[in-house]
Symmetry: C2
Subunit: 202 residues, 2 copies
């Protein structure tokens, strides 16, 4: 039925809906193909635009994901900044930053939406695993100069996702009521241990 | 319309479906009222039996919950056994037990179903928070003779739920591939720190 062109096809750079069309295509493609297999070329094709235009608007696939998921922060900016001073004190810096963002965002926290979605749907779990891996965990791992850096980053992620679930979603009472500095101290030591402590089994 | 009695009303102790009717009523009542507010009396009423019969079959509200959720283990038996030797080494015992159960159960793990449900639905989160609190966290807290025992139990829960989500649901690659003894060593130290280490903020 070629009578009318789909509104998603044949957009020119100036079209006011182009950016939104790219974001819609990205959301759909990321959630079905995962982060790694969703190419900028395929997303551009779905949106009816040239891949160069996607890069012009967003700069990278990671940045496109961040925009599509409406993250308030881009890990490509935040993680290098937290990691830059070196691995000493990185545990506390990560936890201080995370708890600050959590408390600031409240219920509008897209990390919570992503965790809810990932826990409920295997495709969303894959998308989160792949994006987390490239955008955050590989970057944290690159700051670690001891053995098994990516396992260490995964261990950190397991405590951080546990904070999100236990404190923000399950709302365990003492954890929800604890003051932020106490949690930064306790969790900061845990994360630091995962980054730089021993991994052998006793 | 009093023409036919509901099949759920007026059961006698010998009825073969009585136990199932109580479990159905318990599942429905726990998921709408939460664990704490779902009384044995109300569940018995929903199932059309005497509360004494519920206690005769299940022994306690906690045990009824465990049966209704089809847990393979009863925390009322497991937790006291893990806690009994004292708080020394409890971190490693808890993690060793948990990872053993996780690996043994595989995809048929009802803990995963409960986490998925709790993360997706506020009523299920409430049910899990209340059951976890009474059946596990208060018992762990009672073994701790330092300051803020229940906060310490909540901290342990945040790492344990993080292991479930990051390793079993997100399947972070290095975490999923790590050998069990390494994880028992690393997470055992974390849990032990939460149980007996300092809580002050640096």
């Amino acid at each position: 039925m070629p009578r009318t062109e789909s509104p998603r096809r044949g957009r020119r750079p100036g079209d006011s809906g182009t950016r939104e069309a790219i974001l819609d295509a990205a959301r759909a493609r990321f959630s079905t193909a995962g982060f790694r297999d969703a190419t900028v070329r395929a997303i551009a094709g779905d949106a009816g635009v040239d891949p160069a235009l996607v890069m012009h608007y967003f700069g990278s696939k990671q940045a496109l994901f961040v925009a599509a998921m409406e993250f308030p922060l881009d890990p490509a900016e935040v993680v290098p900044r937290l990691v830059a001073p070196g691995v000493d004190g990185l545990g506390e810096r990560l936890v201080r930053f995370l708890l600050g963002v959590i408390d600031e965002l409240g219920d509008a926290n897209p990390m919570l939406a992503l965790v809810r979605s990932a826990v409920g749907h295997p495709e969303a779990a894959r998308m989160m695993r792949e994006f987390l891996g490239e955008a955050i965990l590989d970057r944290v791992a690159s700051a670690i100069d001891t053995d098994r850096p990516r396992l260490r980053a995964d261990l950190c992620a397991s405590q951080i996702v546990g904070i999100l679930v236990a404190r923000q979603i399950l709302e365990l009472p003492e954890l929800a009521a604890a003051d932020r500095e106490t949690l930064i101290g306790v969790y900061g030591r845990t994360i630091q241990g995962y980054l730089t402590g021993p991994l052998e089994s006793s």
